[in-house]
């Protein structure tokens, strides 16, 4: 289970490092809109190896949607803007029009920003001695920050904490993902991404339940 044993630059990373990388990838995509440069990287096929791996791992449908989205964007005159507008529609407007990427908007008595979930995240970060990038003026329960933490937990071998955070995310990511599917977007990129994240977390959680000593 402890996957953090460092082997000298393997072609195939250790499972925990893989998870760390994958969560970081999600975090990147949820943190901000893709810049023109980032989008060009995608257009240049940089994501293809990852897509191949993900497709083989059982996310073929989501990968297909995301690839389709990238291909569709290639033909659009304002590709970056269109994808940015998709990002905005999905995550940046108010809670009714968007799937807000904050745990507090799904959990707790009142679905406000900066709810108890946000406080819990801050406390958690503090326990790990982690801080937030001050250039990222966001609430700590933002999905991207939670995924960053998940990535860090995987990378630093805090397996139990990692499991705990996966479970915590699963309390609201399914609703979040479902909401994403209802938003009218130009391309299916973000809805597919959210489905993929949700399934990934669910698979992970299911596996862990099976592996747990009680079973």
């Amino acid at each position: 289970m402890n996957a953090s044993t460092v082997t000298p630059e393997p072609a195939e990373a250790a499972p925990a490092d893989q998870r760390a990388a994958l969560y970081a990838w999600f975090a990147t995509l949820y943190a901000r809109e893709l810049s023109e440069a980032q989008l060009q990287t995608w257009f240049s096929g940089a994501a293809e190896p990852l897509f191949d791996v993900l497709a083989q791992a059982g996310f073929a449908a989501e990968v297909q949607d995301m690839q389709g989205a990238i291909n569709a964007l290639r033909d659009l005159p304002d590709a970056q803007l269109e994808l940015a507008a998709d990002y905005t529609m999905c995550f940046l407007l108010d809670v009714k029009s968007s799937a807000l990427p904050y745990a507090s908007c799904y959990l707790g008595e009142h679905k406000t920003l900066f709810g108890p979930e946000e406080k819990a995240m801050r406390e958690k970060l503090e326990r790990y001695g982690l801080g937030l990038d001050s250039n990222y003026p966001e609430a700590a329960d933002h999905l991207a920050i939670q995924l960053e933490l998940l990535s860090w937990l995987a990378m630093t071998g805090k397996a139990l904490d990692e499991q705990e955070l996966v479970a915590s995310l699963l309390r609201w990511v399914p609703e979040f993902s479902q909401k994403c599917q209802t938003i009218v977007t130009q391309v299916a990129f973000y809805p597919a991404l959210s489905r993929m994240l949700c399934r990934l977390l669910q698979e992970e959680s299911a596996a862990l339940t099976d592996l747990s000593p009680q079973n």
Partner: protein, 829 residues
């Protein structure tokens, strides 16, 4: 997933595969010494601040507002202060500067029919302000001042320095001339008619002190006035001192020491609180009832002829109309009135006799002037008061504002702090000095803002002048929810197609922001330092508004936003006078301190700021118009003659059919209870000021809304009888509609409401299902159904209360609420 390795395992995944696709982490390792405060901010701290809802102390822990309690001085705090946390952390907050995608691509040539349902993109502050500025340049250079509309400010967040309208207007004034507005949405008819009649707006004037009323009045008439509901909020930081007097009034009623009658179709919150008497009247027919009362006073010789002779002009010109010797040959007898207003003739007579039998204080609310011919009830009220002859006597006469901002609490007399200047500094000129309005009026009556877009160049009458409506191309809304206060949403939708560029500055995603092209996130007043008057009229003190938390997300203060804008044309130093927030506060405070001198001693700013407030002693009880009564020559009224004008030659000279020279009863364009259009739409819909919001403010506070919404929708109050007839039960989803619009709302069945009357409180957020004309409003904004017509050629004010509707039980799948963030558990039954 593979069977043997259940955990996520990605065959062939190397870190290099992902590396190119990820950005640096958002997390940072933190040095141990920075640990304690930086993330959770473990400290806990009580701060003081003010609001429309009163002064509060707020506990801030971990950089978050966690608890609110009323300031100790406030003995009657409103429950709405508990909505403040929900307002700060509302999931409807605007978090980043946004631009409508199509506008970003095509600028002023964008497809404006998509407004309200268009895609937005996040931009940086620099991008947003650059775009804003380049539009100002474009409009000033390619059209001129007639194309830029800036008179769009409203019930800003409180605070004298950050008052958002001033920031917007100062920045705009530095750039060029613009179209501004006259009047407002609350008292539009009253503030225009009353200067002709009583010589002052009255609606915003200090009134006779409550303690005088309590001592001297034998009878108090609340005419369409609901102070217990409306005194919860104030223009500045509210003190709620009036409630102490209302409590005494309640006790006097219980002991039968005073008679208090509420003339209102609805059993108001005030009536329920006071336990006073109720006089029902048919909606919109108050003038008919007043005529009946006046007729009784005159024919039974209960009127004060001496007062009329000494202090008024034109009674003799009004009399023929009252007695049926005028053109209409109709005597305004109680019997005549009964048919219109639904009050028995005998009751009218008794009411008139009661009023004349002793000291009677008339207290009007603003609702009756927010209707077609809204000038008339106020004018006729003044005529009634003049006939009773008690104007200027303690506990007698007429008031138009005892429900507003603690009017009736004596003024301390102390000077209150000034505000951030909206004007250019002396000697300064705007960047564009062009004042060529191409023949259009540079000012429009505010309620005609949509007419200007739909009927460009139309010449309308307004208060004795002609106004040529300018078809402005760009509008800037600052802390102003135009899509709440203006009437007739579907008409607005059409009009907004004609605007090239709309900029909205706000802290929350109001409908106005949804219909804008550039949306700029201001922070809330709880995220900035400020000072405010404590008690708009009582002048009870000055309150420090200590910042509770830093601006959330990318939001900024209005000061920073517009300083950034003026920086783009090199005038930011002039804009800010090179002072920062705290320097401004010290400046405004010290000026106020200087003005108050030794008469109202104030500590130096630093000391004041630490303590959080300075209070002044109570003022002396006061009687409105007593000086006029004492010496009408020296203390002449501000009317053309200096006297109370029962007949106004000046108004008569305008030759307005809808506002002649003396008050008259006129039928409305539509009216329930047998009036026009009542067969198709039998229910009168009143859009009263809300009980648990301030206009549209705090509608986005989810915890607060949870206390009154029905199935996530705005409640529609209706009578048990109307509900029964339509098969509606309390809590049902219902559709309220007329030819102008439709909304999905929750039925709140209450015996406070008579048959034929429904209430949908104004300020409910607009959330249509789509951009199409006629789309169903999913939350319940009454202005989806109200009509956008002027009160008359005189005031051209709003006529929101002249509105009839029908209501039906909603069947089928209810669309989700799109007005704002809110509960998602709404499911159709």
């Amino acid at each position: 997933m593979t069977q043997n390795s259940r955990r996520v395992f990605l065959k062939g995944l190397s870190l290099a595969t992902v590396a190119a696709l990820v950005s640096p982490s958002l997390l940072l390792s933190r040095e141990s010494e920075a640990k304690a405060a930086a993330v959770t901010g473990s400290g806990t701290d009580w701060k003081i601040t003010g609001s429309h809802w009163g002064a509060i102390r707020a506990r801030v822990a971990g950089g978050k507002v966690v608890e609110i309690k009323a300031f100790e001085f406030d003995k009657y705090p409103t429950e709405m202060i508990q909505g403040i946390i929900g307002l700060i952390y509302s999931p409807s907050r605007i978090r980043y500067p946004m631009v409508r995608l199509d506008w970003l691509k095509n600028g002023h040539k964008s497809d404006t029919t998509q407004r309200g349902d268009n895609r937005f993109v996040r931009v940086t502050w620099d991008q947003a302000l650059d775009l804003f500025y380049s539009e100002l340049e474009r409009v000033q250079t390619s059209y001129g001042p007639w194309a830029m509309h800036t008179g769009l400010v409203g019930w800003r967040q409180t605070g004298q320095f950050h008052t958002c309208g001033n920031h917007m207007l100062r920045a705009m004034n530095m750039h060029g001339h613009t179209i501004s507005t006259a009047g407002d949405y609350s008292t539009g008819a009253g503030q225009v008619i009353l200067p002709y009649v009583l010589g002052s707006t009255e609606v915003y004037s200090q009134g006779t002190s409550w303690e005088v009323i309590l001592k001297e009045s034998k009878t108090v008439i609340f005419w369409a006035s609901d102070p217990v509901k409306n005194l919860q909020v104030g223009w500045n930081c509210e003190t709620h001192e009036s409630f102490a007097y209302l409590e005494q009034l309640k006790n006097k009623i219980a002991k039968k020491e005073i008679r208090v009658i509420s003339i209102d179709p609805v059993k108001s919150k005030t009536q329920n609180y006071l336990g006073c008497e109720k006089q029902y009247v048919n909606p919109l027919t108050d003038v008919a009832l007043m005529m009946g009362l006046a007729h009784t006073l005159y024919t039974e010789k209960l009127h004060d002829q001496q007062f009329l002779d000494a202090y008024t002009l034109g009674f003799e010109k009004f009399l023929p109309y009252l007695l049926g010797q005028g053109a209409d040959k109709t005597a305004k007898t109680p019997e005549w009135a009964e048919k219109i207003c639904g009050v028995k003739a005998q009751q009218i007579r008794e009411l008139a006799r009661l009023m004349a039998s002793g000291r009677t204080q008339l207290i009007f609310g603003w609702a009756v002037q927010r209707q077609q011919h809204g000038e008339q009830p106020y004018w006729m009220g003044a005529v009634l008061a003049a006939m009773l002859g008690q104007i200027g006597l303690p506990g007698g006469g007429i008031s138009y504002a005892h429900h507003y901002s603690s009017i009736g609490v004596p003024s301390s007399g102390a000077a209150m702090p000034g505000s951030f200047p909206l004007n250019l500094d002396p000697g300064k000129k705007p960047k564009y000095t062009n004042t060529d309005y191409k023949g259009y009026s540079p000012m429009i009556p505010c309620a005609r803002a949509i007419d200007a877009l739909l009927e460009p160049g139309k010449v309308i009458d307004y208060n004795g002048q002609k106004v040529k409506l300018p078809p402005y191309k760009m509008a800037i809304y600052s802390g102003c929810n135009q899509w709440h206060r203006q009437q007739d949403r579907n008409r607005m939708k059409k009009a907004f197609h004609r605007l090239e560029t709309v900029v909205a500055v706000d802290y929350t995603w109001t409908a106005t922001c949804r219909f804008a092209d550039i949306v700029l996130p201001a922070c809330t007043q709880f995220e900035r330092n400020d000072i405010d008057a404590y008690g708009s009229y009582s002048g009870r003190g000055v309150i420090a508004m200590q910042k509770l938390v830093d601006p959330l997300f990318s939001s900024k203060t209005d000061f920073e936003i517009f300083r950034g804008l003026t920086q783009r044309f090199g005038r930011d130093k002039e804009y800010s006078r090179n002072m920062d927030e705290m320097q401004w506060l010290a400046f405004l405070y010290e000026n106020c301190r200087k003005e108050n001198g030794s008469k109202f001693p104030m500590p130096p700013f630093k000391e004041f700021w630490a303590k959080g407030f300075v209070l002044f002693p109570a003022g002396k009880p006061w009687v409105r118009h007593a000086d006029f009564r004492e010496d009408a020559e020296i203390n002449a009224l501000g009317t053309p003659s200096g006297f109370i004008e029962i007949f106004s030659r000046k108004i008569a000279s305008y030759n307005y059919a809808d506002c002649p020279g003396h008050p008259v009863w006129m039928e409305k364009s539509e009216r329930s209870h047998g009036g026009p259009n009542s067969k198709r739409f039998p229910l009168w819909m009143q859009s009263a000021h809300p009980d648990k919001r301030l206009h549209s403010q705090m509608c986005d506070s989810e915890p607060m809304r949870a206390t009154y919404a029905i199935q996530g929708r705005e409640p529609l109050f209706m009578s048990p009888e109307d509900a029964r007839q339509r098969g509606i039960k309390h809590g049902d989803l219902v559709r309220v509609f007329n030819d102008r619009g439709q909304a999905l709302v929750g039925a709140h069945v209450s015996s406070d409401f008579p048959k034929g009357v429904v209430r949908l409180q104004e300020g409910a957020w607009y959330g249509p299902t789509g951009p199409e004309i006629g789309a169903l409003d999913t939350y319940g904004d009454p202005n989806t159904m109200t009509q956008d017509i002027g009160t008359s050629s005189l005031a051209q004010a709003i006529s929101a209360n002249t509105c009839v509707v029908e209501v039906e039980k909603y069947k089928g799948k209810a669309p989700a609420v799109t007005a704002f963030g809110g509960p998602t558990e709404v499911m159709p039954k």
